[in-house]
Symmetry: C2
Subunit: 109 residues, 2 copies
């Protein structure tokens, strides 16, 4: 008669996981780099300035939610952006940042 409470949020778990996968400076940087084309792990490690083991983990998180895909070629593993639509987020994010400074409200939906 009064439960079903926890179930309210079930619908939002997956989208929240995707956002969470994106919600880290290193992973944002990685996504931006992958938007330019496929990259191997050591190239990405170089450009984010972290150890390969750490970057490998970050890539694992992005892959787990389907944002990137990987392909092994020889000794290297190349990652590609699988969901380019997330690039639309950047636009809004920079608008928000500008808004924070300029103290003005962002745009419509």
């Amino acid at each position: 008669m009064h439960e079903v409470k926890a179930a309210v949020l079930a619908r939002y778990k997956t989208p929240a996981r995707v956002l969470k996968a994106l919600a880290h400076p290193a992973r944002l940087r990685i996504v931006e780099e992958l938007a330019r084309g496929e990259r191997c792990v050591c190239e990405l490690a170089e450009c984010v300035g972290l150890g390969m083991s750490t970057v490998s983990r970050h890539l694992g998180q992005l892959r787990a939610v389907g944002l990137v895909e990987d392909e092994k070629r020889g000794a290297q593993v190349f990652y590609r952006l699988r969901a380019r639509c997330v690039l639309n987020f950047f636009e809004c994010l920079v608008a928000l940042e500008r808004a924070r400074r300029g103290e003005e409200v962002p745009h419509a939906a």
Copy 2:
């Protein structure tokens, strides 16, 4: 000669914080609800099915990154969505979810 390493990610810290603020089922639900109009804390607590103290904290996180704003009227505090552009995210998120099931790649940028 070889540092500047940590600084690489500085530019991404703020956008990552915004995404992180959004990256929780309860907060996503709240944002969706606020998209329909302003709501007080107890209404939001009701619709996400969590205690008011918890919801108040979630709102604090959304406010901290500028996604919502609050206005106290009488004993209640009403929250409004300040950056409607985040609603664009939902479209991409549901596309991604569909893609996960249908095993097919989402759309372009």
